[in-house]
């Protein structure tokens, strides 16, 4: 079966700085890949290339085996990539429904916003997918008043609504309580069960190990190693991570 997503020999230069060097990365159908690496290793750059925010300096991107040139954010979203960013990606002064449909507003046949439908869908999603009770959620409430977990829920619901094939989670557990974190990890497991794929980025090796099928370790802009989580114990993985951080390689 074709990979859902594949990057071949992708590099990204910012001026003189090699943020990414000759990265090969693949994401299978129905697979959760954990991305690990230190601050500044290039994890964020990598996902911003997948989401179309940055264009790679060189290299090729394939979606379901099809080469895609000049990937932009709207194009990536069309191709089924949705991203759950850290909470900074919400517009805090705006209402819940505006945040859910941020950048992909629903319009009627005349091209005007279908506000009623967006509010209804927001209401439905929050109750159905996030388990909010109907009194606690109001599509008109401002996102700035929400807790960390609720905000993350908004970002996740956004990915669900647009029926993403590839869900990218950028440090989704940051600022979450224990209970909210557990809920989030369950959600990531749910992505796999639904036959979709995900890239999960986190500092916390325990979280990544718990949900990922495969772990890709990035260091100084290169892929330093890959492990199938079933084949490596958590202790071994941690030992290897420390080794990479000290020497830049596994051996």
């Amino acid at each position: 079966m074709e990979n859902r997503l594949e990057l071949r020999n992708v590099s990204k230069l910012f001026g003189e700085v090699h943020a990414l060097e000759n990265i090969d990365f693949r994401l299978g159908q129905n697979e959760v890949v954990g991305l690990l690496g230190d601050n500044g290793a290039g994890k964020s750059t990598l996902i911003k290339i997948i989401t179309g925010y940055y264009q790679p300096t060189s290299g090729e991107i394939f979606f379901n085996g099809q080469k895609v040139d000049n990937l932009t954010v709207p194009k990536a979203r069309e191709l089924g990539v949705e991203t759950v960013y850290q909470e900074r990606a919400l517009a805090e002064l705006q209402s819940l429904w505006r945040n859910i449909f941020l950048g992909r507003e629903l319009t009627n046949k005349y091209g005007f916003l279908d506000v009623g439908k967006m509010k209804y869908e927001t209401h439905r999603l929050m109750i159905q997918s996030m388990g909010f009770t109907s009194t606690a959620v109001d599509p008109d409430s401002k996102v700035g008043t929400f807790s960390g977990g609720e905000r993350q829920g908004v970002a996740i619901v956004r990915a669900l609504y647009f029926d993403a094939d590839i869900i990218i989670l950028d440090e989704p557990t940051m600022g979450l309580s224990l209970k909210e974190t557990q809920k989030l990890l369950n959600f990531v497991n749910g992505i796999r069960k639904a036959g979709k794929s995900a890239v999960f980025i986190d500092h916390n090796i325990f979280h990544v190990y718990a949900v990922a099928d495969r772990v890709v370790v990035i260091d100084r802009g290169r892929v330093a190693g890959e492990f199938v989580t079933k084949e490596i114990s958590l202790d071994d993985l941690m030992e290897k991570m420390i080794h990479i951080a000290e020497t830049g390689s596994f051996d």
Partner: protein
Amino acid sequence: MTTIENTSIPPYKDTFSMKKFLRSNGTVLGIFGVFLLLFGIFILSAPGTFLKPMIYYAFMSTIPFFAIMAMPLTILVIAGEIDLSFPSIMAMGMVAFLLTYFQFQSIWLSFVAALLIGLFAGWLNGFIIVRFGIPSMVATIGTQFFWRGAVLVLSQNKNGSLAYAMSSPLQQILVGKLFGVFPMQMIWLIVIAILCWVLLNRTRFGAHVYLIGDNAESAKLMGVNCGKERIRAFMLVGLISAFAGVVASLHVKFFWPSLGDGYLLRTLASVFLGGTSVFGGVGTIFGTFIGAFMIGSIEAATVAVGLTGFWTQLIYGLIIVISVTMHSFLRRRME
């Protein structure tokens, strides 16, 4: 997906509750309250003036000149930008109007030329700001001087009578009197206010304006073309400013190279008085509408109440400071 529990969803209706209404319209209601209070004071202190329709016709005749521009400016300020060059664009549009008239003797063609130059001036503002990343406050100080300079050079600082436009239907349509009493510029203000409301609240452009003003980074991450939308907002201000320039000039049937001077602060004051946040992301067209009428009525009212004209600025200052403080307070309360 396993996280989707098959719970039955209670039907959603956009329920109306007083609390919700107050919360989501707090700033608008606040400014409306100040507006009513202000007119209450006017009526009590000068009933002879404020209980007769004449003063209201006068307001409807003069306020639209700057209130028309305050509408697109509200959209721009919500997007987190500002334009200080619109008074010069007003005058530049009229220069294009006159030059085109001398060439072709067509009022309609002149009108179109004025609007086009306004659109271009707006695009130029947006282009400089987006392409070179210059803060809009700085860039539009520059273009404000540039366009005023262009007006002075092209017109040789000469005034011009617009008497020839008197017989044109355009004059009747823009600044005539509906049924012989109702000023047409007021109708245009209402039309432009409604158009701007629709743009802001019922189009993707408007939705993006709110998002860009609130969190431009997030809008960009979600695929909004921030540069394009900001340039559009500047073009809208340019277009409407040129339109307002034509309306104001046809009203007095005369072109002054200083056209637009004196509109800058009262237009901006209308926007901020109406509850639009200078930080972007928040604001309403209705608030600006009310704000413009407060700004526009204070001058006449101070005189009618029996104070000298010298009091006007002091009262402007008081009302603006009180209102803006009130908005800030209400906004914090609602969070």
